[in-house]
């Protein structure tokens, strides 16, 4: 570059002004792709939920709220409507199970994250990797592992029979318990990692010094550990709740599909039942549940920050 191109004062001003303003535009392609292929599809799902279900799948005009009506009411033979709570029960059951998953995850995840955060940096790094690996491993494979362990001819029953505790296999699989177990197993890393991230920044020596003599361990836990962990707990709860409430694999493989949950209900509308508009409506109602919890969580964490 022996010869630099000539440039004038005007060019230089324009170039510097442009360079500053062009950087944000680099984000445009990625955002556009997600808008086109995820936000767009969700809007289509929303509008499909207000259309009439086609006979062989798909949707037809006219616009209707039939799909949402179907959620609460059963249409009798004489076209009258009677209240039907079976879908509400499915939603309630799923939300309850997801909520329980969150609670159990906190109870297990908080001590684990606390333990991790109080190690030396080197050990910390290894522990984080140990928690991260399951986080990225195929959910299908991880859920399937529990089928192998819990089924009638599985490892758990086999061992119990070996040591003579039982003669007949215990029905470990295909229960709410096994679904809950699978959900906690699936999403526990989502709880541990945010709590760990919150606790990692804390200088533990200060706590140790302040509470050196006069506080019982219970007081320390309630007055120090919990408040410090709270932002992480809130974020983790959201991250565990959202995939739990929409989960398909754990209820399907560990629940045997007999205890119908939201995920399976939605999936069925696009496979066996071929009722797209009802499926879309169920998905939108699921989205509403997740968004409500999200708004609640964001508000909680904001309150936390102001306090």
């Amino acid at each position: 570059m022996a010869l630099a191109e000539p440039f004038t004062a005007k060019d230089k001003v324009a170039a510097s002004a442009k360079r500053r303003n062009l950087i944000p535009f680099l984000g445009l392609p990625a955002v556009a792709v997600i808008v086109c292929f995820m936000v767009g599809p969700m809007l289509i799902a929303l509008s499909f939920s207000f259309l009439t279900a086609g006979v062989y799948g798909g949707v037809d005009l006219p616009f209707t709220i039939e799909a949402y009506r179907q959620f609460l009411f059963e249409r009798n033979l004489d076209d009258s409507l009677s209240f039907d709570n079976s879908y509400l029960v499915i939603y309630g059951r799923t939300i309850l199970l997801a909520g329980l998953t969150v609670v159990i995850s906190i109870v297990i995840g908080l001590p684990t994250a606390w333990y991790m955060a109080t190690r030396t940096p080197k050990v910390r790094e290894r522990l984080v990797l140990l928690v991260t690996i399951p986080f990225w491993t195929s959910l299908l494979v991880r859920t399937y592992c529990w089928v192998l362990i819990l089924r009638d001819q599985g490892l758990a029953n086999g061992l119990l029979r070996e040591i003579g505790l039982i003669t007949e296999p215990l029905p470990l699989l295909y229960s709410y318990g096994s679904i809950l177990f699978g959900l906690v197993y699936s999403f526990l890393p989502f709880m541990i990692l945010p709590i760990y991230a919150a606790l990692e920044k804390v200088d533990f020596r200060l706590i140790e010094a302040a509470y050196d003599l006069y506080a019982s361990r219970a007081a320390i836990f309630l007055k120090v550990v919990l408040p410090l962990a709270k932002p992480g707990v809130i974020a983790g709860s959201m991250l565990v709740f959202a995939p739990s409430v929409g989960s398909f694999l754990a209820p399907d493989l560990l629940g045997g599909g007999k205890k119908l949950m939201i995920g399976s209900l939605i999936q069925m509308q696009f496979t066996t039942s071929r009722n797209w508009s009802f499926g879309a409506a169920c998905a939108m109602l699921l989205m509403a549940v997740v968004l409500t919890v999200l708004v609640f969580a964001v508000r909680q964490s904001k309150k936390e920050r102001h306090a």
Binding site: M1, A9, V13
Partner: protein, 359 residues
């Protein structure tokens, strides 16, 4: 060659300035006083004014230091010289070339960053050769020159290390070699020694001075360390709050501070009402080593010793005058017999008292 607003060219391979008016580049060019010329430069970031109406000339081949506390605008001024920021108003020129809004890659100016900013993915040799290769130097020639530069900063044998495998002092030398390799007209140094420990810093100070003499390149150094500034610079500009307070040779700045800030920031000073020092101005200053302390007897300025602290070559004595002011004296002799609480007479020799323009 690149023409700059019809005034001349910058040879972007050799980083030479070729004024259009002078047909013979070897002829005496411009008066040294306006080599770098900063005219009424103001820089605002949003509502914050980092620099306010700064005007300054720096001569060719000078070791010039911008001295001031953090946040005084010295680094901003350096970044304006490098081209990372452009002034909000005002002009910067180099000889006859308008640098005001010239991008950094077109200026014959290189920077040694406070963080060193070595490229983490390149080895030492490639780091040093980087600028030369960008200027169109052949790979071989660039490498050759880089080796010479590494020799100059005494890092021969470290060519193929990565930056993170070097100590702080070594990284500092690489950064220096990298910035000097393209033979810039101006070298900017942003607090280059602040990350080094005291002993290394002393060594690097004399090394920097040696390099500047050897290369003849104009150095502009930013520092908050007055001792560093006094010991290395040909001239110093003291800055505070985005304003230039005083420019001059180290001795001038030390010996004739213009105002209270300069007096107290560069060295230590007793700032007292002018009449106590025999001056006509409302305020004056005198250095602690110029203060004379006598035991007992009568005098115009009695006081009581507050403390005597031996610091090595001298002792620092704090005295409260009967008029209320506290005065510091630095004594080589005669402090051994002073005790706290003792009544003494303080004298301020008139020839060492300095008038301050404002307080």
């Amino acid at each position: 060659m690149c023409r700059v607003a019809g005034q001349g060219r910058i040879d972007m391979k050799n980083l030479q300035l070729i004024p259009a008016s002078s047909p013979d580049p070897t002829a005496d060019q411009t008066a040294p006083s306006d080599f770098i010329s900063i005219r009424n430069v103001t820089k605002r970031f949003g509502s914050v004014t980092a620099l306010e109406d700064v005007s300054l000339d720096i001569a060719e081949g000078e070791f010039f230091t911008l001295l001031g506390p953090s946040g005084c605008g010295k680094t901003t001024l350096l970044r304006l010289l490098a081209g990372f920021e452009y002034p909000s108003t005002g002009e910067i020129s180099l000889s006859d070339f308008d640098l005001t809004r010239m991008p950094p890659n077109k200026r014959p100016v290189n920077t040694v960053f406070q963080s060193y900013a070595l490229f983490p993915h390149l080895d030492v040799l490639t780091n040093v050769a980087f600028g030369l290769e960008r200027l169109g130097e052949g790979r071989k020639a660039a490498k050759q020159r880089a080796l010479e530069m590494l020799d100059m900063v005494q890092l021969t044998g470290f060519e193929y290390r990565l930056a993170n495998e070097l100590s702080g002092g070594q990284q500092q030398r690489v950064a220096l070699a990298r910035a000097l390799a393209p033979r810039p007209r101006i070298l900017l140094l942003d607090e280059p020694l602040s990350a080094l420990d005291l002993k290394l810093r002393r060594g690097m100070q004399s090394e920097l001075k040696r390099l500047q003499r050897a290369t003849g390149i104009t150095f502009v150094l930013v520092t908050h360390d007055q001792e560093e500034a006094l010991s290395m610079s040909d001239r110093i500009a003291v800055m505070s709050d985005g304003k230039l307070l005083q420019v001059g040779a180290p001795l001038d700045i030390y010996d004739a501070p213009r105002n209270r800030f300069v007096a107290e920031f560069v060295g230590e000073a007793n700032v007292l009402p002018g009449r106590m020092l025999g001056l006509a101005s409302p305020y004056g200053a005198i250095r602690p080593e110029r203060v004379i302390v006598r035991q007992g007897g009568a005098g115009s300025c009695p006081g009581r010793v507050l403390s005597v602290v031996f610091v090595g070559s001298v002792a620092e004595v704090e005295i409260q005058l009967n008029t209320g002011q506290e005065v510091k004296a630095r004594l080589v002799d005669g402090w051994q017999s002073l005790n706290a609480g003792e009544v003494v007479q303080v004298e301020f020799p008139h020839q060492h008292a300095r008038t301050l323009e404002d307080r």
